[in-house]
Assembly symmetry: C2
Homo-oligomer: 232 residues x 2
């Protein structure tokens, strides 16, 4: 016979909806994002996802068709939420380009490494970057390319037109790469750098200052990195 427990659950969900009262679809997407981010596509199981979402295993097929389409939807969902949560800084027109560069780098690092947001969204997107699947193109076009274009525009302003676009893109990738390393290979970085040094010099704000100074110095727009006097 039918259990009575599920019926009481449904009644509590109907009126108040205080606990986890979202769409089942939404709950599945949330749980799927976390599971896929943590374990990857292959290792994550729809059973674990449904267990965490509090729905039946059949629900994922009912709402999304199969695992692959659920994955793609969860990537979309994560990067849309991320774009909404951490938008690009909106600078007043008078902001110096150097300051924009620093803000951009700090924003990127905070988005990648910061603890302001739950980390699974970035981890999920990082998996797509490292090993692209069908969901990658959309992620690049909607999220990464616009950010990259802003960075290139800032660099163009800094160079005052003296650098052609291809070279600007190369410099932009150099800047992104410096931040990317800490996100993708953070564990190895932590093994290469003493822990107290890691906390003192490799925190997001410190890194933002370093990367910005590095780039400005390379462009001849700031003092070179050996700040102390030379002892030749």
């Amino acid at each position: 016979m039918s259990t009575v427990r599920s019926q009481s659950d449904r009644q509590s969900n109907c009126q108040s909806g205080p606990r986890v009262a979202e769409d089942p679809r939404e709950r599945i997407l949330l749980a799927a994002g976390q599971e896929f981010a943590e374990h990857g596509y292959e290792a994550a199981t729809v059973r674990d996802i449904c267990l965490e979402a509090g729905v039946n295993v059949a629900a994922v097929n009912y709402y999304f068709g199969d695992k692959r389409r659920l994955y793609i939807e969860s990537v979309k969902h994560a990067h849309e939420a991320r774009a909404r949560q951490v938008p690009l800084p909106a600078w007043p027109p008078s902001t110096p380009a150097a300051e924009r560069l620093h803000d951009f780098v700090a924003n990127m690092l905070e988005r990648m490494l910061g603890f302001g947001q739950p980390p699974w969204q970035v981890r999920l997107m990082m998996r797509e970057v490292l090993q692209p699947t069908d969901a990658c193109r959309e992620l690049v076009e909607d999220y990464i390319r616009p950010h990259f274009a802003v960075l290139v525009a800032i660099l163009d302003e800094l160079a005052e037109g003296a650098i052609a676009d291809p070279e600007l893109r190369r410099i932009g990738l150099s800047i992104i790469g410096q931040c990317f390393l800490y996100r993708a290979a953070g564990d190895v970085v932590a093994m290469l750098v003493p822990s107290e040094e890691l906390a003192a010099l490799h925190s997001p704000p410190q890194l933002a200052a370093h990367v910005t100074r590095f780039a400005l110095a390379a462009l001849g727009l700031g003092p070179p990195l050996p700040l102390k006097e030379r002892r030749r």
Copy 2:
């Protein structure tokens, strides 16, 4: 039950080196490295590995115990082979530090992106870097840390003692990050940069020149990057 080291090791190191006729143990390690590199630990199956190695499925348990130990052994095997194949450049003592930096970067890029060697070894090591497992620590200590130390020594020579070690490490990571991006996120880079530009400006030699110039300029040891005359 314990794993078995092949009893016929004595003749295996002969000069001949026929193509597929090595130790079963060696064949399994080779096939496992390729499969793990391509699909990752979870998605790779021991059946596919044994099929490619031309051995029975029971062989992997006979020689290695289980899948996890086979994985760890294959990572060790890959990074030992890699260290043997592509050693660090041995510079004559008179070599200028700037030239050493360029050689180091070019060597790293060639190792990461070059087509001189089968790509699966680097891909396998990259997986360990991105998501460390038990095999990671050894990989860092034997392979990555020595390379990193060489880079830091070059930078120290360039800075002529004007930069403290922690800052040198940070600069070193900045240089590595620029190369790392192309290896780990190469697909996304290819989507952000027009294809003809990618071939012309983002090949390993071009990148080595760019990264070196970028770093030297940041250190005040070379011309800043806007090389063309300004047009504003």
